[in-house]
């Protein structure tokens, strides 16, 4: 675990696997990297009507306060989620979007935005349902918060055996897309291609 305390929110439609994506990230940290992770999810009226949202806090120390108000990282898979949650991001935070479903323009200063056509990549694998894991792979490459190997183990640990191969492929698709994007941005930007660390909240 490299981060002191990072707050992450993942949001989208019900059925997109928002909670599973959050659980994979939490597991990777807590089960495979010796860190701490606390996941909470929105229940009740705000979780009805098709929207779904989960929060994960990662830390190298025990986590006390379990809720997230201003995340360091926001992953959105629907326009509704983007519109609602992007303004709450911490200034300088990271916004990760499903590029073809979401358009964002209202977010705090200094936020870096990264998009991935996760639905299309998932469809290339023949199963749109794994878009959440494509997003998770992309998240891994962009944030560099967790080792790719921990995330892979967490994916394998979170899906039924028959679905493992497909989900791991989905993870690689997203991870690869993210790594390439970072290289390109590195080449065009600061030139070193290092992953972006969301450390501001420490």
């Amino acid at each position: 675990m490299r981060q002191l305390l990072t707050e992450i929110r993942i949001a989208g439609f019900g059925g997109q696997g928002v909670i599973l994506a959050a659980a994979v990230i939490g597991k990777a940290a807590a089960l495979f990297e010796g860190g701490y992770a606390t996941m909470t999810q929105s229940f009740g009226p705000e979780a009805r009507g098709g929207s779904s949202s989960a929060q994960v806090i990662l830390s190298s120390e025990p986590i006390l306060y379990p809720y997230v108000a201003h995340p360091d990282v926001l992953v959105v898979m629907s326009q509704e989620a983007a519109t609602r949650f992007a303004p709450e991001l911490k200034p300088g935070g990271i916004l990760i979007t499903e590029r073809e479903l979401v358009r964002v323009d209202n977010y705090p200063p200094g936020v870096r935005v990264y998009g991935v056509p996760a639905t299309r990549l998932a469809e290339e694998l023949g199963r749109k349902v794994v878009l959440n894991i494509v997003m998770t792979g992309f998240f891994g490459a962009i944030t560099g918060l967790l080792e790719a190997e921990s995330l892979r183990r967490a994916v394998a640990d979170s899906v039924p055996p028959a679905m493992q191969k497909l989900n791991l492929q989905a993870f690689e698709k997203g991870y690869e897309y993210g790594s390439n994007l970072m290289l390109q941005m590195g080449a065009n930007g600061n030139g070193n291609g290092d992953p972006v660390l969301a450390l501001e909240s420490a």
Binding site: L31, T38, M39, G44, P45, I63, L64, P66
Partner: protein
């Protein structure tokens, strides 16, 4: 005795408090659960319903909470370890059978995942407003045990403890979760079965002819039997004598009801479960439990950073209330700060135990979320002023 490996899901898991609680019931040896769906507690029995057919046991969804809370007691007298699960409105319906379990000394576990009330209130949001109901909700005088986990790991660990205490003291034990702890997902380590201590039922070794169902032993708790073994015993919710026969007079009532409370004394004193920190030099002590204890911990860190000598007293067993410990602290601290997700419940117990020797400051919250740590911090600052 150690746990039956059949029910123990040894390993490292990423579970929410409700699911971890379910694993705790299985590890403790519970093979019977009766419930009625209610948010935010249903996940406990949903998992039980999915796990129990491969472990070997029964989950039955009853027609209401009255049925669920008495069906488990039938199962206990049939020889099972059993529990029910509910939240707010269902907990209210279970009160009569909480009393029945206390009166008949039926060891069983009630899991209450607290949500905002009164009435239907806030079905999906946390509160800690059933603490007094857990203690006093059924009519008459009796004692119960209530445990307050503050993490999924503790939801597992303390559920095993709850079953063990239920057997040892023959009382209903309440697992007082709150929505936040119940729905929070974290790492949960489930040890190997050999490393989980399970208290067996205190079955009598006596023959039917010289066994009396309610004859207390040295620890004030009577031994038990189960149906079908030839004891031909009688259990009643009426005031009863040592034989278990109705005996409705002042003497029997006095002896019986006093014993129902007195047998729990060890837990009010030496054996109370708590977590303390920095009490040696404390001038203010934050008394908290459940999810609020985590928020309070954050406030305590901030207070110490400001140089305030603040200590922590976390109630793990909230009932019986650890009166002696609080009374002792009251003699040497300036104040107690008591944050809870209610408008003031356990704070009354703290005040009672402090008996005017220290200031007692409630930090109330009507439920639906948790305190911002700063609110608790402000109370700490205020307390030492």
């Amino acid at each position: 005795m150690h746990a039956d490996p059949k029910g123990v899901l040894t390993g490292v898991h990423f579970l929410d408090g409700d699911h971890a609680c379910c694993e705790g019931t299985l590890a403790a040896g519970a093979r019977f659960s009766a419930g009625y769906p209610i948010t935010p507690s249903t996940e406990v029995v949903e998992r039980f319903a999915s796990r129990i057919p491969t472990v070997g046991g029964i989950f039955i969804q009853m027609e209401d909470e009255l049925a669920a809370s008495i069906a488990i007691q039938g199962a206990v007298w049939g020889g099972a370890k059993a529990f029910t699960v509910t939240s707010g409105p269902g907990f209210s319906l279970m009160m009569e059978h909480l009393g029945y379990a206390a009166m008949t000394e039926t060891p069983c576990v009630f899991v209450n995942v607290q949500r905002g009330g009164p009435s239907t209130g806030l079905p999906t949001l946390p509160a800690q407003a059933d603490m007094m109901q857990a203690r006093w909700g059924s009519h008459g005088d009796y004692g119960i045990i209530a445990l307050c986990p503050n993490s999924p790991q503790e939801c597992f660990d303390l559920t095993v403890t709850a079953f063990n205490l239920a057997e040892e003291f023959r009382v209903p034990v309440m697992m007082m979760l709150d929505e936040c702890v119940g729905h929070m997902t974290e790492k949960v380590v489930i040890p190997e079965a050999e490393r989980i201590q399970v208290t067996p039922r205190r079955y009598t070794k006596r023959q039917p002819a010289d066994f009396r169902l309610y004859e207390p032993l040295a620890d004030q708790v009577p031994d038990m039997v189960r149906a079908g073994e030839g004891y031909r015993f009688h259990v009643t919710g009426l005031t009863h004598d040592d034989r278990g026969y109705p005996s409705m007079n002042v003497e029997t009532q006095d002896r019986h009801v006093r014993r129902l409370q007195d047998k729990l004394k060890p837990l009010a004193n030496g054996r109370a479960l708590s977590e303390t920190e920095n009490l040696e030099d404390a001038e203010v002590v934050v008394v908290s439990y459940g999810i609020t204890s985590r928020v309070a911990q954050r406030a305590l860190q901030l207070a110490r950073q400001q140089g305030i000598r603040a200590g922590k007293f976390r109630l793990i067993s909230a009932w019986p209330f650890p009166e002696a410990r609080i009374a002792e602290l009251a003699g040497r601290v300036k104040a107690f700060v008591v944050p809870e997700l209610n408008l003031g419940q356990m704070v009354h117990e703290v005040a009672r135990a402090a008996a005017g020797k220290a200031k007692v400051m409630p930090v109330t919250h009507a439920g639906g979320g948790v305190h911002p740590p700063e609110t608790i911090l402000n109370a700490i600052v205020e307390a030492v002023r």
